[in-house]
């Protein structure tokens, strides 16, 4: 599975759009890009998953360029409750998730 690299921390303000970019230069052909969110004292929670181009759900959008060497998680109009750690992972049919250090997002009023 691909090793992923993402910023350790980011700050934002309520109402702003937040984009977290993840690098995965060695992503395998059969890997999906998956993002999880983790609040303190809770287990990670699935946010979104995609293979290429753009995926959107009620929580976020995921942009994956054609070369798939990076991806960007976009959180529209963040609120204080979006303060959490966000993990970018490569995921394949083997079911093995390899978490990195994640990006600690802090949303301020």
């Amino acid at each position: 599975l691909a090793k992923t690299t993402q910023p350790i921390s980011m700050d934002s303000y309520e109402g702003q759009e937040v984009n977290i970019t993840c690098s995965h230069n060695n992503i395998a052909t059969n890997d999906y890009i998956t993002w999880y969110q983790q609040f303190p004292s809770q287990g990670p929670r699935f946010i979104i998953q995609g293979y290429k181009t753009k995926v959107t759900n009620e929580v976020a959008s995921l942009f994956i360029p054609a070369d798939r060497k990076s991806s960007t998680l976009s959180l529209p109009r963040v609120s204080l409750s979006d303060t959490a750690v966000y993990y970018c992972l490569g995921y394949n049919q083997g079911g093995k998730l390899i978490f990195g250090q994640g990006t600690e997002l802090s949303v301020k009023p």
Binding site: G43, Q93, G102
Partner: protein, 113 residues
């Protein structure tokens, strides 16, 4: 629908003592995972079960850690004896077939004194 249930939520023990964690996955989920999460780090997979079979235990320290999933439903992770470095959060997750997302429990925070 109930999520992944773990117990206890917190455990404090002396080093060299045994400890066990219990996990009940989401009903119908055949795949069960145990992860270890150290402070400030992402979770690391310890073991993965497909039904009652451990299909990936390559990261499980088998000298002191053991796990079982009898009947392919709930699971127990045991440490014997515990060491100071085992202090961490132990997370259980479950998933359905194929590319389905993993659903995590709240974890058990272990403190070894």
């Amino acid at each position: 629908e109930a999520g992944v249930v773990q117990s206890p939520r917190y455990k404090i023990i002396e080093k060299k003592q045994p400890v066990a964690f219990w996990c009940n996955p989401i009903s119908g989920h055949n795949t069960l995972y145990w992860y270890l999460q150290n402070l400030g780090q992402g979770p690391e997979l310890l073991i993965r079960y497909e039904n009652e079979e451990a299909v990936d235990d390559s990261q499980l320290p088998k000298d002191r850690f053991s796990a079982e999933r009898l009947k392919g439903v709930d699971s127990t992770l045991k440490i014997q004896p515990a060491e100071l470095g085992d202090s961490a959060v132990y997370l259980c997750a479950s998933s359905g077939d194929g590319y389905n997302e993993q659903f995590f429990g709240p974890g058990t925070r272990l403190t070894v004194l």
